[in-house]
């Protein structure tokens, strides 16, 4: 009897193990700010990624295995992000990580994912150092799906000079921000190549909220357009104060644009241009936004984050399929070799030397009379 029991239990254990093996999920880590000032962006990203995972699992999963999302909160703090990534790799054994959406966090976690040999895809982390270290060498396990700040700066210059026909430009930027420096530097380079002239180049410090002195100088410089390579609040205050000073000027900014700027600057926002990754009414994204609304009973307001999250997950699953196994190094290789991958918001080709997308089209948004940022045009780099 004891023998029979032993054999029986052995059979059960083997069967159970076999069943578990067949259904063992592929774990994907998701790094996002879920609390704090930037929580809205992170929550949207994780929601979108969950939606994607459910859809993939409903269709039978990847490589015959279901996907499992392992989200962690960064609290927009580097140290929390670093701990979360360590946990993902050592405890949860994820095969890849999507997120975070900020450059600083991706730069902080880059050495850890490289050690753990787990690829990480930044969603809207546009600083060049996310994927390349300060010696110009590519970080083997760091990728991004968005375009970079220098590239964005060049797109803004193209827009200002070729499309809006403005040949005298002013810049107002935060001297302490890497993001602003990247945009500014490459805007100036491209704008001067095209034949434009920078007539005012004004800085401000992180904590400043009053830009009227600089704006007065810009007003007197004869500038026809003003580049605002900043983040939401600073830019909204500058736009508002420019209007108060009677400075009637064409304003161009980057993907630091945010909806809440309309609340601060009000009608002064009308007619401003913003280089961005995608747009709310993008017909290619409409079905996904509709499914998002159905699942969460809410609009996907942070549409850039939603789009990038869904498409980064799509890209990752494509890479896992091509790699044929859910292992970090193989996935990283497949990510690196991505070519002409049709995503919802763009067609993706990765430069193996930088792990950045190449020749990705930018979307120009223009704020309409109803204070909504609308599709203005798509700019393909020349």
């Amino acid at each position: 009897m004891r023998k029979v029991l032993a054999i029986l239990s052995l059979v059960i254990v083997v069967l159970a193990a076999g069943a578990a093996f067949a259904a063992e999920p592929i774990k994907i880590g998701y790094l996002a700010a879920l609390t704090g000032d930037y929580a809205q962006y992170g929550i949207t990203e994780v929601n979108m990624a969950k939606l994607f995972v459910d859809e993939v699992n409903a269709k039978g999963g990847v490589l015959g295995r279901p996907l499992e999302l392992v989200p962690y909160d960064t609290k927009t703090r580097n140290e929390d992000a670093v701990n979360a990534v360590r946990r993902m790799i050592e405890v949860d054994k994820v095969c890849a990580i999507v997120g975070a959406n900020s450059s600083g966090i991706n730069i902080a976690t880059a050495p850890i994912v490289a050690d753990g040999k787990v690829p990480q895809i930044g969603t809207v982390a546009s600083n060049p150092f996310v994927t390349v270290d300060n010696k110009g060498k590519v970080r083997p396990y760091s990728f991004r799906i968005c375009f970079t700040d220098p590239y964005q700066g060049a797109l803004a210059a193209d827009l200002a000079y070729n499309d809006l026909k403005k040949s005298k430009a002013a810049i107002l930027y935060n001297v302490g921000s890497d993001y602003a420096h990247g945009l500014r530097e490459f805007f100036i380079k491209r704008y001067e190549e095209l034949g434009g002239k920078i007539v005012a180049d004004e800085g401000f410090r992180e904590t400043d909220v009053d830009f009227r002195a600089q704006l007065t100088k810009i007003k007197n410089s004869g500038a026809e357009m003003m580049l605002l390579p900043g983040m939401g609040k600073d830019m909204a205050l500058a736009i508002k104060q420019a209007q108060e000073l009677g400075l009637d000027i064409t304003i161009v900014g980057g993907d630091g644009y945010a909806e809440f700027m309309n609340e601060i600057a009000g009608p002064a926002m009308v007619g401003t241009y913003w280089v961005n990754h995608t747009y709310m009414e993008d017909p290619a994204m409409a079905p996904i936004f509709a499914r998002y609304k159905e699942k969460y009973n809410d609009e996907c307001k942070e549409f850039v984050n939603g789009t990038m999250s869904y498409d980064a997950m799509t890209w990752l699953v494509d890479a896992i399929n091509r790699a044929g196994k859910a292992e970090g190094p193989a996935i990283a290789k497949a990510l690196e070799e991505t070519k002409d991958l049709k995503l919802n918001h763009a067609t993706l080709t990765i430069d193996p030397a930088t792990h950045d997308p190449v020749n990705k089209a930018g979307i120009i948004l223009k704020v309409g009379d109803d204070l909504k940022a609308k599709f203005y045009k798509k700019v393909e780099p020349k």
Binding site: D37, T216, K233, I264
Partner: protein, 294 residues
């Protein structure tokens, strides 16, 4: 020339907002001989009361402003009762109150972070901000003129209160010697509550104007109050005209530096002026000399 006039106007309007806050610092200092670093918190409280009264309460700007001023004034009294009075009653050393005020400043800021969140909020457009042109020489906004006028009205009101009322007289007496004033029959605790109420009320006015100008967020208080504190020190802590003049000097210095040298030199000049003032005249431009008091 045009640029100069423009920057002059920019500087005056910035200085007028500093003045409202700096006067609050000076008022408290003149009586209790410590700098209340929680002062910026009252400004934030006023801003949020005004915001919610307008947005959720459906109040008009007059009602909302009134609620904000009273609310900021009362919260200043509460902070004094909770944090400063117990210290005041146990020790004559004002340094402890200074440290307590730093703590209170962080507490107030974090209460807002936890309850209403850290995001930036804009007051509805209740105060006109249209550009106004001065004889073709300079352009400023209607808001700047309004904030200048409001600051003047409130500061004049404060002066009247101090000169014409009984409690004003008591405050002036207490600013020479609080203990003696107490011995002369002044209810010291009530006097201090009134001082805090008035300081909080003025901070509330500053809070509304700063929220309209720079949006509202929990850290708004700490950002601008450092400058207002510097202005109060330059003018001479404890002196109300000093606080006003220090604020105007600071506002002008900031705008002219940013306009004619570089905006990155702005804080360098501000704190440079502070250090020079302290070296040349440690009590500030209008401060009472310490020796005189002793």
């Amino acid at each position: 020339m045009e640029t100069f006039i423009q920057q002059l106007i920019n500087g005056l309007s910035l200085g007028s907002v500093y003045a409202l806050i700096a006067v609050g610092y000076s008022l408290v200092y003149s009586v209790l001989l410590f700098s209340n670093f929680a002062h910026g918190g009252f400004l934030v409280i006023g801003g949020y009361i005004c915001y919610y009264a307008l947005r959720s309460g459906g109040a008009n700007i007059w009602v909302a402003s009134f609620a904000a001023l009273i609310g900021a004034g009362i919260s200043a009294i509460i902070v004094e009762r909770l944090a400063y009075r117990p210290i005041r009653e146990r020790t004559p050393i004002t340094l402890y109150m200074l440290i307590a005020s730093m703590g209170m400043s962080i507490v107030i800021e974090n209460i807002f972070v936890v309850t209403v969140g850290g995001r930036f909020r804009a007051l509805p457009p209740v105060i006109p901000t249209d550009p106004v042109n001065f004889l073709g020489l300079a352009t400023t906004s209607a808001f700047d003129i309004l904030s200048l006028v409001t600051a003047v009205v409130f500061l004049a009101g404060l002066q009247l209160f101090l000169v014409r009322t009984k409690w004003g007289l008591a405050i002036r007496a207490a600013s020479y010697n609080l203990k003696t004033a107490g011995l002369m029959g002044v209810n010291v605790n009530r006097l201090i509550s009134i001082v805090f109420f008035v300081a909080g009320l003025l901070a509330g006015v500053g809070g509304i104007f700063l929220s309209v100008r720079y949006t509202l967020y929990p850290q708004l208080g700490s950002m601008i109050t450092t400058k207002a504190f510097v202005a109060a020190v330059i003018g001479g802590l404890g002196s109300l005209p000093g606080a006003v003049i220090g604020s105007i000097i600071l506002g002008l210095a900031e705008m002219l530096t940013a306009g004619f040298i570089s905006s990155q030199f702005r804080d360098l000049v501000v704190f440079g002026i502070l250090i020079i003032t302290l070296i040349v005249r440690p009590t500030g431009l209008f401060g009472k000399s310490v020796g005189e008091k002793v």
